[in-house]
């Protein structure tokens, strides 16, 4: 199993921007504990949703050759809470991409209203400065992630 925190892409412009949608449902078990009397969507999972939206944008920009991992949260500012029944949209824009890393600017909308800014940095782990070695296969972009892009872009067989 893999945690996927976006339901589908609404838009995908290769190398430029992407928008993903997430419906928050009380059927999701984490909301039963966070919190039992007042379920709200954890901010950490919304950052993860943005990281998945932006991370796929970054990965696709170089045809999924790199293993893209979240390396730094440059900014995460939320102005509202999110409840079961709310619909989230994650809009990510690619700002910079190089051999080693990428940065993205993200905006989160709740039922059409902007509620957050989430700016992230991603590292291409095979190009890390410490020279650490990682497995050859691309463990980041598995089939489940790539299927989200069906209908938007051609995805390679990894």
């Amino acid at each position: 199993m893999r945690w996927i925190w976006i339901d589908k892409f609404l838009e995908f412009h290769p190398g430029v921007s992407a928008t993903a949608l997430k419906n928050v449902s009380l059927a999701e078990e984490h909301l039963h504990d966070h919190w039992e009397d007042f379920p709200i969507q954890p901010v950490s999972l919304m950052i993860e949703g943005m990281a998945q939206t932006a991370g796929i944008l970054v990965g696709q920009a170089r045809n999924f050759r790199e293993k893209v991992v979240l390396a730094k949260i440059n900014k995460a500012e939320f102005t509202d809470i999110v409840l079961p029944g709310d619909q989230l949209k994650y809009h990510a824009e690619l700002q910079t991409i190089t051999e080693q890393a990428a940065s993205t600017h993200g905006t989160v909308f709740k039922n059409g209203q902007q509620i957050a800014t989430v700016d992230l940095m991603f590292s291409h782990v095979d190009q890390n400065m410490a020279g650490l070695k990682f497995p050859k296969e691309n463990f980041v972009f598995t089939g489940q992630f790539l299927r989200l892009l069906a209908g938007f872009v051609e995805t390679p067989v990894l």
Binding site: A71, K72, N74, T98, S103, M121, S123, G131
Partner: protein, 128 residues
């Protein structure tokens, strides 16, 4: 009109305050990026991205901060930079002051080479 060193320093300071979440008064010319300002490896890339945007310049990999020197056995032996490694660094990074470092070129002390002033020196060579 070319930018003055003061203007460059101020913009570098703004970049570092944003990238490293430090207070303005911590960003002095002699402050080291890792030791004093707490930068980690990903922060160096973040700083490069922000400088490129802020000054509208291009910073090729390995030009401001070292790239693959530490992975090359010709340049590192027993935890120290070899004479050829040191020569390569000096040649490729003229904006860095090696005076103290070259007395004991321990790779663990390499991060101390990178100070706020180092970035100001580098940017000064790139902006016209």
């Amino acid at each position: 009109m070319p930018m003055s060193k003061d203007e460059i320093f101020q913009k570098v300071k703004d970049v570092l305050v944003e990238a490293l979440s430090v207070d303005e008064d911590e960003v002095t010319p002699e402050a080291t990026l890792t030791g004093d300002l707490g930068a980690e490896s990903i922060d160096f890339l973040d700083i490069v991205f922000r400088l490129e945007k802020s000054f509208n310049i291009k910073i090729p990999p390995g030009e401001m901060f070292p790239d693959n020197i530490l992975n090359n056995p010709e340049y590192v032996a027993a935890g120290k930079l070899t004479p050829s490694g040191l020569a390569r660094m000096k040649e490729s990074m003229p904006h860095v002051d090696f005076t103290t470092f070259e007395k004991d070129p321990d790779v663990n002390k390499m991060t101390e080479l990178f100070k706020v002033q180092t970035i100001v020196n580098y940017v000064s060579t790139k902006v016209k």
